[in-house]
């Protein structure tokens, strides 16, 4: 009875071998990943197109890295980093500034240094944050995406509140970073102050947002679905959309365009960071260096109609002339965002 198999293997040996085999099977992906040239990058879901077409092939050629990217929202990337802080599997994350601030507070990032990432020295000074904890790599601009079959443009943000557009508008949830633009626009219109001052007038913002409800068809957290409805003509305007998404679709012949309302537009805070204790740190630094280098900067900026952060690069989107561009106080946003999300959800609920 102590012999289990015909070749004389004992039950104890069989169990021992099975356990080792099972442990090896479970550990294999981590072991292989640690030894391979593969790195996992967390990024925005809307970046999928250029990550696949531009970044992945370039990184294979330039630094020999196999890129596995996970496209999702910045907040979800933060949660992934926090949940796996003891054994990170992401090496680099590309996400928005307010979530970067939360990541720094949670001690989830490691600084980017010019020694390891030489191209960092060519960036605009305002693209490097908190002593190198993260850098902005490209900056799309945000305005109002509209269907050109229904309108010739959106001259003012007030158009979102125009009764003629009842049921014709979709706005992003505050769970999405681009949702902040509609909040700040509401603050500006509600308080009558310029963006720089209005961004702190949150009571005025929520009061003005309440007036927007009759015009809303929906509030999205999945942008591609909302954009699809804009393309189909189900809605006429999509608030807070950005150049890296709308303008490539326009170039493909879809009847959409991005308006820069006269009151001002916004700079999307697209950042890149190194995950503290992440796998393959040298390869991760090489990846970031390439992302900040002139070749990648030019290609991404052109593809995604964005403004490059590298000062040696002359490519990408042209900022609409004569329209102020606003970058908010992201520290204030990071501090208050959770309570704003809860309040926003309750206000917008049907």
């Amino acid at each position: 009875m102590t012999r289990l198999l015909s070749n004389g293997t004992s039950r104890r040996n069989f169990l021992k071998t099975s356990t080792i085999a099972a442990a090896g099977t479970l550990a294999a992906p981590s072991i292989l990943r640690a030894q391979s040239s593969e790195i996992v990058i967390g990024c925005a879901g809307s970046h999928t197109a250029w990550m696949e077409q531009i970044v992945t092939p370039h990184m294979k050629e330039a630094i020999g890295a196999d890129i596995l990217f996970e496209g999702t929202k910045s907040s979800v990337n933060l949660e992934k980093m926090a949940s796996n802080a003891d054994a990170p599997y992401l090496s680099v994350v590309q996400m928005d500034d307010p979530v970067m601030i939360q990541s720094v507070e949670a001690d989830l990032l490691t600084p980017i240094t010019p020694d390891a990432v030489g191209n960092m020295t060519d960036l605009r000074p305002d693209a490097v944050h908190m002593e190198g904890m993260w850098c902005n790599y490209v900056q799309p601009w945000a305005g109002v995406a509209y269907n050109t079959d229904f309108s010739e443009g959106v001259p003012s943000w007030e158009a979102l509140w125009d009764p003629a557009n009842a049921g014709q508008v979709i706005i992003p949830s505050l769970q999405n970073t681009e949702g902040m633009w509609t909040l700040f626009v509401a603050a500006m219109l509600g308080s009558g102050k310029p963006f720089s001052e209005a961004q702190y007038e949150i009571e005025a913002a929520f009061a003005k947002l309440e007036e927007l409800k009759p015009n809303l068809l929906s509030v999205y957290t999945t942008m591609s679905q909302a954009f699809n409805l804009l393309e189909q003509g189900e809605i006429s305007m999509l608030s807070g959309n950005f150049s890296s998404y709308t303008l490539p679709r326009k170039a493909e012949g879809v009847p959409v365009d991005l308006a820069a309302p006269s009151e001002g537009i916004f700079a999307m805070p697209s950042g890149i960071c190194l995950v503290k204790g992440g796998p393959n740190p040298e390869l991760a630094q090489a990846y970031v260096n390439e992302m900040l280098g002139p070749k990648m900067q030019a290609e991404i900026a052109d593809f995604a109609s964005s403004v490059p952060a590298n000062t040696t690069v002359n490519a990408g989107a042209e900022i609409p002339e004569g329209v102020p561009i606003f970058s908010p106080d992201w520290a204030f946003v990071a501090e208050n965002r959770r309570s704003w999300i809860e309040r926003f959800d309750k206000l917008m609920a049907l």
């Binding site: 929202k73 509030v219 999205y220 999945t222 679905q225 409805l229 189909q232 999300i341």
Partner: protein, 276 residues
């Protein structure tokens, strides 16, 4: 014989161990998080959850949508199961493929397809206007009706198959015997056929309700953030508010409802079985 039965019971050990580690343990950890505070054990999160009027609205909406989805799926599934039980040869294959094949299509793809169907100039609105039932487009996208229709579509196989399994074993001579005694078709259905198929109805309804009450992707895509459900509140708590105690509390409430449905349906199925 007993020893033989015991050995057979051992076959369940891998499955039970798998469920214990992958299902029960994380759930227990989740429940612990909902009552654990820095000072010890507290049910404060539950009190806060149930005292928030918005949370109660979300809970009520979740239950309502799950119930309506179950009813709609049942209304469609019941006659379908009878048609399947009568089908033979290639027709039965067609029915089974029609039930199973849509399950291989992702919910995201389905949701985009429904948006084409439900939009202002979509097929449904065009048809309604063409036959003169409406003068202009009716808003269908981002409505609870669209959510119930979409969810019933996704969960339909889980209602059809348990009913089909019962109907297939139904002794066709019993309704015939009732007919020979002068029972009308309505009487035969409500007093013979329906009671005999109720175990399948209960099982299908329990499946559908349990899945409908916890669905996340379908409401996220069909009704969006303005009509949140319990699952959307859980995701928001963990991913965006980073409030684990709140997320764990809502998860525990949802789990309690699901457990009640499963236990109640099991009891009901046993009782119905005993009566028959």
């Amino acid at each position: 014989m007993t020893a033989r039965v015991d050995r057979v019971a051992l076959l369940a050990v891998p499955g039970l161990a798998y469920l214990a580690v992958i299902y029960a343990l994380p759930l227990l950890m989740l429940l612990a998080k909902s009552i654990r505070t820095a000072d010890g054990v507290s049910f404060g999160e539950y009190a806060a959850f149930f005292s928030d009027e918005y949370n109660m609205r979300v809970l009520w909406r979740t239950l309502r949508v799950a119930a309506l989805t179950t009813v709609l799926a049942l209304v469609i599934a019941y006659p379908t199961a009878f048609a399947m039980s009568r089908a033979k040869g290639p027709w039965l294959t067609v029915f089974l493929v029609a039930m199973v094949l849509p399950m291989s299509l992702g919910v995201v793809v389905k949701a985009f397809a429904w948006s084409i169907l439900f939009r202002a100039n979509g097929f449904l609105n065009s048809t309604l206007q063409w036959i003169g039932l409406t003068d202009g487009p009716v808003r269908m996208l981002f409505t609870e009706t669209a959510l119930v229709v979409g969810a019933a579509n996704v969960f339909l196989p889980f209602m059809v198959l348990p009913i089909y399994a019962v109907v297939r074993q139904l002794d066709s001579r019993l309704p015939e015997a009732a007919a020979s005694l002068g029972a009308s078709p309505m009487f035969r259905f409500f007093n013979v056929t329906l009671p005999l198929t109720l175990p399948g109805v209960v099982a299908g309804s329990a499946f559908t309700f349990s899945m409908a009450i916890s669905m996340y992707v379908i409401p996220s895509l069909i009704v969006g953030e303005r009509q949140q459900t319990m699952s959307m509140l859980i995701a928001r708590s963990f991913l965006y508010l980073r409030n684990e105690p709140l997320g764990s509390t809502i998860s525990a409430v949802l789990l309690a409802i699901a457990i009640f449905v499963v236990v109640f349906s099991s009891w009901l199925a046993r009782r119905l079985g005993a009566r028959q």
